[in-house]
């Protein structure tokens, strides 16, 4: 294949995964709600419900609370933009990427944090007690989750010798046994906890709660309406998708295309969708069995996962 053909193919791969994540993220959320509904004995609103919600929100009026500033209106944009950038650089469909080397795993984690910060600032900017409360809790959880996630990154990239996402994925593809190494398993556990904390799922945060005092994520977005809310909902769904997708492809990359030929890409898209579906459904099933924890037990959970991360790193040093 010629260089230009390669670039065109890689661009197609990036565009493909952007389209897949943007289009599929609400469906994933819909699927998770559907699984939950079925387990609760309900019929459920259908997998497409989040998309119907989004379409409706786009037609509605947007509202800005009195006394808020540009931060309030910019935050959804920044949240969505940072998630889009992550989606573009993460190896979901192919390890070949036109934006190779733009952002490594550290940058991806930091971009996730950037989104959290944008939303937290917006929560504070509303000037309501709930907004401030949500912001305070969200950044506390994020601050405690960040060390864990970076340690997991460390454990993963130490064995590969690079923190570039594509390198990690490729190395797992060439030596699959790595996945079963203690370092990798421990890192997977740590990463799973972080996904739950960062995506605001049970037992850290209840995405379906109506009680303001128990909210984390919802409390920050109480003031948003219309298209602003749509952006936030879409971005939240995408963040969940991206986190699950990273988890899937860092620890079980099989099925990902190593070229940019159309057929493997198509196959990779199908496999990726299936992986996410399974992971999402699994998470939804898990959520049925747990209740939300007290806010002040969440740090214990995160400290535990931090320990797992530390063990993972030490394992990668000593058992390398």
């Amino acid at each position: 294949m010629t260089a230009s053909g390669l670039t065109a193919g890689a661009l197609a791969a990036t565009a493909g995964q952007l389209a897949l994540v943007v289009g599929g993220a609400p469906l994933l959320v819909g699927l998770m709600r559907q699984v939950r509904a079925r387990l609760e004995g309900r019929a459920g609103a259908g997998v497409g419900q989040p998309w119907r919600d989004l379409r409706k929100l786009l037609g509605k009026e947007a509202i800005r609370p009195d006394g808020s500033s540009w931060v309030f209106t910019m935050a959804p944009l920044l949240l969505l933009a940072s998630t889009l950038v992550i989606t573009a650089v993460a190896p979901f469909l192919s390890t070949v990427s036109p934006v190779e080397g733009v952002a490594d795993l550290f940058a991806v984690v930091s971009l996730l944090m950037l989104g959290t910060v944008a939303l937290a600032l917006a929560g504070l900017d509303t000037g309501t007690a709930f907004g401030g409360m949500g912001a305070s809790r969200a950044v506390t959880v994020a601050a405690l989750a960040e060390p864990t996630i970076l340690l997991a990154v460390f454990a993963l990239s130490a064995r590969v010798g690079s923190s570039n996402l594509a390198d990690i994925v490729e190395s797992t593809l060439t030596t699959p046994a790595q996945v079963l190494s203690p370092a990798s398993l421990l890192a997977a556990v740590a990463f799973a906890v972080v996904i739950i904390a960062e995506a605001g799922r049970l037992p850290v945060d209840n995405p379906a709660t109506h009680l303001e005092l128990t909210m984390i994520h919802e409390a920050m977005v109480l003031e948003y309406a219309g298209r602003d809310l749509a952006m936030i909902e879409l971005a939240s769904a995408m963040r969940l998708t991206v986190l699950l997708g990273l988890g899937a492809n860092l620890f079980m990359p099989w099925g990902i295309a190593t070229t940019v030929a159309p057929l493997p890409l198509l196959g990779a898209a199908v496999v990726f969708a299936v992986k996410l579906g399974v992971l999402g459904a699994g998470l939804a099933v898990f959520e049925v069995f747990v209740a939300k924890w007290r806010l002040f037990r969440v740090p214990e959970l995160l400290a535990g996962s931090f320990l797992f991360g530390l063990l993972a790193v030490s394992a990668s040093f000593f058992l390398a």
Partner: protein, 169 residues
């Protein structure tokens, strides 16, 4: 594990959905022009519930409408925490003096297009509380009402039928 056993033993409890009300039909007893299904709201209506002074009988029925048996969520309905996220207000009870202003504020806080659903006889005409010393009036006296759901309390199927008129599902 006991939860798992329970889930398997219980299976699906949601009753099968009744026939969707014809799109143009009014909810029973509505004396206005009825809930024109608003195009932008089709398929998804988020509700913010406001208890303006109800006896909580209506609340019980709303809760069971969203419970597993009636499962209102399958029609694209959802209860939300903030009026900013809502498309319709679900108002119950006669409007008491202390709740009149909050009700108006909630209505103000809801983004357009917005609908108001008055649930229960009290919301329609103050019901058994008519003439009470703390009662300001019916919901329609405070904010414009679009859909009326009579009954004391209205049964979940009546409530759901009225709400399905909003989502068009």
């Amino acid at each position: 594990m006991s939860v798992l056993r329970k889930i398997i033993r219980t299976g699906r409890v949601a009753e099968s959905a009744p026939q969707a009300p014809p799109a143009s039909a009014d909810a029973e007893g509505a004396d206005r022009s009825g809930p024109e299904p608003v195009a932008p709201l089709s398929g998804s209506v988020q509700l913010r519930h406001v208890d303006a002074g109800s006896c909580n009988g209506c609340e019980l029925e709303i809760a069971s409408a969203f419970g597993p048996v009636y499962d209102a969520e399958r029609y694209g309905l959802r209860l939300v925490a903030s009026p900013r996220h809502a498309d319709a207000l679900l108002v119950t009870g006669p409007v008491t003096r202390n709740m009149a202003d909050p009700l108006r504020k909630t209505y103000e806080a809801t983004p357009a297009p917005r609908r108001v659903v008055a649930v229960g006889d009290c919301a329609l005409n103050c019901g058994v509380f008519a003439g009470g010393h703390g009662v300001e009036g019916a919901v329609a006296d405070v904010i414009p009402v679009d859909v009326e759901v009579p009954g004391c309390p209205p049964t979940p199927d009546v409530l759901i039928a009225a709400l399905r008129g909003l989502t068009g599902r």
